[in-house]
Amino acid sequence: MKEIIELLEQNAKLSAEDIAKILKRDVKSVKSAIGKLEQKKVILGYKAIINEDRVEGFKPVRAIVEVQVAPKRNLGFDYIAERIYKFPEVKTCYLVSGTYELLLILEGENIHEVSQFVAEKLAPLEGVRGTVTHFYLKKYKEDGVVFAAQSANSRNNITL
């Protein structure tokens, strides 16, 4: 199971047939293992890694937001976290240690939209004590993938 997860995490395009060959297992057992992972919600979905700099037209704006929040009696941070992450503008939400509690990644069509969300929806929430917003300027690397396109290939096509 773990091997299949690792393979798909790296390359979701691998077919069950490919995985069967890589792991030297039969296709049927790989198919059923993947089915189980999906059923048990270990695998929540499959998606492509997009280099948005190369997409023509629409480019969403993103910001990292540090949010200072107060925990709620008996509910800890989960209550306020849920209030926040349910907004579709919030793409990512972590509870972290340090000088603030929640780390969000927000997405919107433009700077104005994101700022407005912070000012009108996020900051006024009960329990939110402060926010600091950092807009993304350039994405160099994400989840181990380098985005700055400069893959040198100096190899000759044939060497012994």
């Binding site: 393979l7 390359n11 395009k13 691998l14 490919d18 060959k21 890589i22 792991l23 030297k24 040198a152 100096s154 190899r155 000759n156 096509n157 044939i158 060497t159 012994l160």
Partner: protein, 385 residues
Amino acid sequence: MKIQISDQLQSIPPSGIREFFDLVLGMEDIISLGIGEPDFVTPWNICEAGIYALERGFTSYTSNQGIESLRRNISGYLSKRYKIKYDYKDNILITVGTSEGYDLAIRAIVNPGDEVLIPEPCYVSYYQVAKLAGAKPKYIPTKDSNFKLTAEGLSRAITKKSRILVLNYPANPTGVSFKENELKKIAKVVKQHDLIVLSDEIYSELSYDFDHTIFSAIPAMKERTVYINGFSKAYAMTGWRIGYVCGPKDIIQGMNKIHQYTMLCAPIMSQMAASEALLRGESAVKAMNREYIKRRNYVTERLGQLKFDFPYPEGAFYIFASVKHTGLSGKEFSYRLLNEKKVAVVPGVAFGSSENNKDYIRICYTTEFEKLKSALDRIEQFLKG
């Protein structure tokens, strides 16, 4: 003025597959399964160590033998990995790649006419470098023993003139390797006939199915073995040109004598980067190995389905497959696959006698998975005609 090149050099005929090479090198938009070097870039911590060396102004010659700290690190690595002792003062020489190590060893040991026994198919340099040194290279075919040299095969090949046996495992071009008990049998014959062994173990860290055994750890072999290794393959450092040899003091001294006149020393920044590789390169090697194993498994499964016959590759990144079932020779197969499907492989005859290797091709899986997959799809289409 027409300049005559030396008789020695003229005795080496131009490679029979030069033309094929030129064709491949001149073509764009092909998928090449003919590249005998990693597709990975050198791990960043190693590159960074090289850059840092330059920043601090390490741009000079080093001692001929190589920087002491690197020799100490090699000694430490071998002792930790194989429980074998090579003294950094007397037994280790830093070279410009494994290639220089082999050349020096041959030149330091052979007299004109001495026989150098080379199991084939093999890495291309062994035969010609021995010839350039005035020795008599002699192939030992291994095709009939599943591409592994056996004690019997070796015994049969030995004559009074035999001086050196060359070993390479995991091997280029087959990926085949030896287990300890197999090496012991070979060692017995080596001792009996008083041979010296040059053991090119450049793929030792790319051994996928069992632990690598260093030849000099076989009893009584250390005193007659030159262990040759380098950083090119395991650490993806082909362009850094850095390797090392370990062996008996007399041989190392002899080799260093040639090295000091012909090479002076290995590049200093490469030596410094190599230390980083030994000290903190293990996790990167493991990660690359995981990738090679995935590809090895995938490619061997596909080739098996397509009825190719090959010895199972236990290491390195090569598969030496017979194309006999296609009715084509290795060379014809390679030319046609290149022209019709834009996939490059290397004809087997590049790796030894044309008689023994004519039905074979070498496939390298030093290419990312999606490309490998599409190369195999093309081979499949090619076979279907």
